[in-house]
């Protein structure tokens, strides 16, 4: 806890990850470098699973592909028993290619083409309907293919958080959700299997989950009363915060983020209080992404240069910038030296390598005095960065996975000029200049 003088700033170096020295990783695989710890992924997953399964009899996790769809990462989760949660035709096919069975893919999101829906219906995937236009199209597809797909609707609601995400799904309070449910229940071609919500992202409080779970359970019980129809699962989506510190956060995220236990307690206690018959207690599905993977990812790199700014502030230029670290727009990332350095620190601006003004990782942070060539590690970068990274000015680097036996595997190779040029075509008349 901070005193009135603020927090003591410590910069314990991160010299190794799962027993592998960071410097050796950089020399073997180049700088910058994304590093994932399989041990941490599995540990985090099991902790989350345990938090729910020790409170609720039937729990399932579904890996959120958009959070990190590197195949190796997805497969670790699939090995742990996770399904796939996808939000586009591309992600859907990626999951299939990863060997996920069609009926173990949850298809979310507002953008599903007719072809996507046809494929999902054919494979028996769970389709979570986002809007009425999709609902109508799906009815059409189901009729055409003479199938009865398992569907759920996504429901948005006032769970006491700002902003309420009302752009996805059907609203609970204004009755739109019931409109959609009635429409589905009267449709012979759709099987209403579940209810889905995703109340937002980086929710720092557990209460909204309790409210959301209560409202979904109310809908489910309402369906039992009205149609004698038993909902088979309740999908609480994701949105659990990781331990990163949001920009503007006063306390560090590691102190303020609720644990899986806290989220689980809120959700499960609401579901257990609902009037479900024990034989029809729905399966609880969770699509949490960020909280499961953030801790397992590291971005290592090298200091390119140090300089003083016009006002005398110290600045360090790193070889990894916002092109690789999209999340630096949201987080005050925790940057550590990868070798022991002096305890002396100074307010420092940390910039990326791009020749663009926006490439700022930390505007100002108390940082030890690193010099050119010193290695560094940025913690908790596993979520969203490897899906939202930009091929902008520089090429994307290697991504490695350290397995349980501390063996290092390249899971995505660095891009080369050919990677990009292979996709391009120059018209004949432009070949010579």
């Amino acid at each position: 806890m901070p005193s009135k003088f603020g927090l003591q700033v410590r910069h314990d170096p991160i010299t190794e990850i799962d027993g592998v020295p960071v410097t050796s990783l950089l020399s073997r695989f180049g700088s910058p470098l994304f590093i994932y710890s399989e041990k941490t992924i599995r540990h985090t997953f099991r902790e989350a699973f345990r938090a729910f399964s020790s409170r609720y009899p039937n729990v399932l996790f579904s890996w959120s592909y958009k959070t990190n769809y590197l195949n190796a990462i997805c497969k670790v989760f699939h090995q742990e028993g996770s399904w796939a949660e996808v939000v586009s035709g591309f992600e859907y096919k990626k999951a299939l290619a990863n060997g996920v069975k069609g009926d173990q893919i949850i298809f979310n999101g507002p953008d599903k083409s007719k072809a996507d829906l046809q494929l999902a219906v054919k494979n028996g995937s769970l389709i979570h309907i986002d809007h009425f236009d999709e609902l109508y199209e799906l009815i059409e597809v189901a009729k055409e293919s003479n199938a009865k797909p398992n569907v759920a609707i996504r429901i948005n609601m006032d769970a006491g958080i700002y902003p309420a995400w009302d752009r996805f799904g059907f609203n609970y309070e204004n009755g739109e959700a019931w409109d959609a449910l009635n429409r589905i229940m009267h449709c012979e071609n759709l099987e209403l299997a579940g209810l889905h919500t995703h109340i937002g992202t980086y929710i720092m409080s557990t209460e909204p989950y309790r409210i959301a779970a209560t409202k979904l359970a109310e809908l489910a019980i309402g369906l039992e009363r009205k149609y004698h129809h038993h909902i088979r699962y309740i999908d609480m989506g994701g949105g659990f915060a990781s331990k990163n510190t949001l920009k503007g956060g006063y306390y560090p995220g590691s102190d303020t983020t609720p644990s899986f236990e806290d989220y689980a307690e809120a959700i499960v206690s609401a579901l257990m209080k609902a009037d479900f018959h024990p034989d029809h207690q729905p399966l609880l599905i969770l699509e949490t992404g960020r909280a499961l993977i953030d801790d397992a990812g590291y971005l290592a790199g090298t200091v390119i240069a140090t300089k003083r700014l016009a006002d005398g502030q110290r600045a360090s230029i790193l070889d990894a910038g916002v092109n690789l670290l999209f999340t630096s727009f949201w987080y005050d990332h925790d940057i550590r030296p990868a070798v022991p350095v002096s305890d002396q620190t100074e307010e420092t601006a940390i910039f990326g390598p791009l020749c663009m003004n926006i490439d700022v990782i930390r505007k100002s942070t108390v940082f030890p005095l690193l010099k050119k060539g010193d290695p560094f590690v940025i913690r908790r970068v596993g979520a969203y960065n490897n899906t939202q990274w930009l091929q902008f000015i520089t090429l994307r680097p290697n991504v490695v996975l350290i397995d349980k036996g501390s063996q290092v595997h390249v899971i995505r190779s660095e891009e080369t000029l050919e990677t990009l040029n292979d996709l391009e075509n120059t018209p004949e008349h432009l070949r010579v200049h």
């Binding site: 599995r42 540990h43 099991r46 902790e47 345990r50 399964s53 020790s54 409170r55 609720y56 009899p57 039937n58 399932l60 028993g81 399904w83 069975k101 009926d103 173990q104 769970l126 398992n150 299997a193 579940g194 088979r232 699962y233 644990s259 236990e261 307690e265 257990m272 024990p278 034989d279 399966l283 599905i285």
Partner: protein, 726 residues
């Protein structure tokens, strides 16, 4: 129709075979003609059975018992006796009817008097009834003694002409050693037939009925013969031949019928038969005064005494196992007992489940090193761990850091809340509250002398109240850190008394998964041991709907590959609380036992070509819990899988050694978790093995979904069955 009058025709046949404790119709088919070697004796015997069974039915006794011949066989013997001793006629017929009913009354009375000691009435009613008649008939001047006995040949001549007389004489003059001759005569004497031919036919019937009974009949007889030789008497003397069957029946009764046949039961036959000899000789000299034969009294007395005496044992060191279910043949008793012992040893009467959700670790088991000692040794301490074996997050400085803290604690079985304590503070980590050793506690009463106790709960977390009726799995409170608990854990024990400090009681846990070395195994009943990772079996709705058998449930199939194209089954429960599935078409029954998350079939009787028989074998052991790639294995009672007519050698050796084996295997598919309910395909095999080599293999498959069982396939060398649930 046939089933409705089962008590009549089956009761008739069984009254014959029941003399040898059998319900074998083939045996009856031999015994009936044997009684007719003396035409009138046979006729009166038969009438006597019909009188008795009809009277019993009219008066309103249990049709099941009439069907099994329990009442008829004593009257049969009385009828045979009367038919042999007296001239046939109206007077004898009247007397027979009265005697038959008197015998029935004596049977029922004895059933009440010694039945409460769980002892059978054997042939005591016959002995008593025939004595009464023998004594009283001396005054019945209208009756004339039969002289046919002297002129058997005349009778035979009338029935079958010269050739039958020649045949009869040839048999009786056969040159066989006198001891064997006496053996056959003794067997014949059971039916009042004093001829080698009758004895041989009965021996043949005995062999058809049971190889073990046949072996024992020899063993008993020769044990007596040896004993007679030792004491200087001669068993082959005519007078003794009339009583020789006492040894034979004794040997069958204690060597294999009322006691599971094994080397010890055979050994005891050798000891008990001489006792029968002594009783026979001594009773003979008393009864001689009244000019009464001993009949089967020695056998009855000694067997009843022996069975009674065995009941007072407090431990079984004798190797003698008395029966719990009588299957009416030494072979069936043996195979079913061996199988039951193998499958259900250590099984609990009241199934108790683990009192939590998810997977927990046993930190301290029975006879633990810390507190589970002496009177409190049968207890468990549970905690939760991560994959590194740690029980807490962060540094573990606060109860909240511990994985198990705040987790729901659930009721291990149905019951009533007996006692709660809910206001003791949770300790800070490392401190114990020895003033309130057990901390916050819930005690549940499951029966008058069976309670469970859950301790160290979190303060003010107990959700139930004293007197609440709860079902297993209901949440009781939360795991905490109160009482003698330096860090959060759950203490679980079973006890016979309702107090917070009661001694523990040894009792296993039923139907759970145990992960001891990285793989989850299903435990039917067991004692979780230190460091085991254990979790309850969670019922999968599709599996539960398919395999759960609740009385009243009806299942119907359209079948290809059996004689009948339709099968209709109903789950029933009988007066003895045995649960079974009954096939409406064939009357076949498959008995089963239900656990909290499992079903075991235990016995089958009836038509072995019916669909129910194949289902009995295929669904022999099932669990409602789905675990990817789970394999269940088990073994069958030999006689229910092998053809009983083709086990001759195995039957002979069975009390000592079994070289046949029938192995069951059921495989749950490998797949990820799915939203319930799911479609599943389970397949399995049944392997018949001879000296551990597979001699025949059957395969089966279940297809099921959210509505329950859809299809059942069974494939073997001669069977190709496809059954669809309708």
């Amino acid at each position: 129709m046939l089933q409705k009058y089962e008590w009549f025709w089956k009761g008739f046949l069984n009254s014959y075979s029941q003399i040898f404790f059998s319900d074998n119709k083939g045996f009856a088919a031999i015994l009936i003609p044997v009684t007719f070697i003396d035409l009138f004796a046979g006729l009166f015997g038969m009438l006597s059975v019909l009188f008795t069974n009809s009277a019993a039915r009219l008066i309103g006794y249990d049709p099941m018992k009439i069907r099994n011949g329990y009442y008829g066989f004593n009257s049969l013997l009385v009828g045979l006796g009367l038919g042999i001793y007296y001239e046939p006629g109206i007077v004898l017929l009247i007397l027979l009817a009265i005697a038959a009913i008197l015998t029935l009354f004596i049977s029922v009375t004895l059933e009440g008097v010694i039945g409460k000691y769980y002892l059978p009435h054997l042939s005591l009613p016959f002995v008593f009834a025939l004595w009464m008649l023998m004594l009283s008939s001396r005054e019945f001047y209208a009756l004339t003694l039969n002289e046919r006995g002297i002129y058997t040949l005349n009778d035979l001549y009338i029935i079958g002409g010269h050739s039958l007389v020649v045949l009869y004489e040839w048999w009786n003059q056969l040159d066989i050693p006198s001891v064997f001759r006496t053996y056959f005569l003794s067997l014949g004497a059971i039916l009042f037939q004093f001829s080698v031919l009758s004895g041989m036919l009965i021996a043949l019937g005995l062999l058809i009925y049971s190889r073990i009974a046949f072996t024992l009949s020899f063993l008993g007889f020769f044990a007596a013969w040896c004993f007679y030789n030792i004491i200087g008497a001669d068993l082959t003397e005519v007078g003794y031949s009339y009583v020789g069957f006492n040894y034979i029946l004794t040997a069958i009764a204690i060597g294999g019928f009322f006691i599971i046949p094994n080397v010890w039961s055979y050994f005891w036959v050798l000891l008990v038969v001489p006792m029968v000899s002594i009783v026979t000789i001594s009773l003979g000299s008393i009864l001689n005064v009244f000019q009464l034969p001993v009949y089967a009294l020695p056998f009855n007395m000694v067997v009843l005494i022996f069975l009674y005496v065995l009941k007072f044992r407090i431990s079984n060191r004798s190797g003698l196992h008395t029966l719990f279910v009588q299957r009416n043949s030494p072979e069936r008793n043996l195979y079913s007992w061996l199988n039951y012992r193998e499958r259900f040893t250590g099984r609990a009467e009241t199934p108790v489940r683990l009192p939590f959700l998810g997977e927990w670790i046993v930190r301290q088991g029975h006879n633990g090193p810390y507190t589970h000692k002496n009177d409190w040794r049968h207890a468990w301490d549970f905690e939760m761990v991560d994959e590194n074996g740690k029980t807490y997050r962060k540094k573990g400085d606060f109860p909240e850091d511990y994985y198990c803290f705040n987790k729901p604690v659930t009721a291990p079985a149905d019951g009533i809340v007996e006692e709660i304590i809910d206001d003791i503070e949770d300790n800070i980590i490392g401190k114990r509250n020895l003033g309130h050793n057990w901390g916050n506690t819930v005690i549940i009463k499951h029966s008058d002398d069976f309670y469970s106790k859950l301790s160290h709960l979190k303060k003010h977390s107990v959700k139930v109240r004293r007197g609440d009726r709860i079902r297993h799995g209901d949440p009781l409170g939360l795991c905490g850190n109160s009482g003698n608990s330096p860090y959060p854990h759950l203490h679980f024990q079973l006890q016979s008394t309702p107090y917070v400090g009661s001694k523990t009681r040894f009792h296993p846990v039923s139907n759970y998964y145990c992960n001891r070395d990285g793989s989850r195994k299903l435990v039917e009943t067991g004692i979780p041991e230190k460091d085991d990772l254990v979790s309850n079996i969670q019922a999968n709705p599709s599996l539960k709907k398919s395999f759960q058998l609740v009385p009243g449930r009806i299942m119907e199939f359209e079948v290809e590959g059996t004689a009948k194209s339709h099968a209709r089954w109903e789950v029933k429960i009988d007066n003895y609380m045995n649960q079974y599935v009954e096939c409406a078409e064939t009357g076949s029954k498959a008995y089963f036992e239900s656990g909290p998350a499992m079903v075991h079939f235990v016995h089958f009787e009836g038509d072995r070509t019916s669909l129910l028989y194949y289902y009995y074998m295929a669904a022999y052991k099932t669990t409602f819990g789905f675990e990817s790639g789970l394999q269940l294995t088990d073994s069958f009672p030999l006689n229910l899988v092998f053809n009983p007519n083709k086990m001759f050698l195995q039957d002979l050796a069975a009390p000592f050694y079994r070289y046949l084996e029938a192995a069951y295997e059921l495989n749950y598919p490998k797949r990820n978790k799915h939203i319930p309910p799911v479609e599943l395909e389970l397949d399995g095999t049944i392997q018949k093995k001879v000296w551990t080599r597979v001699s025949e293999k059957w395969k089966f498959q279940f297809k099921l979904d959210g509505k329950g069982l859809r299809e059942f396939h069974f494939n073997g060398r001669d069977v190709q069955i496809k059954a669809k649930c309708v």
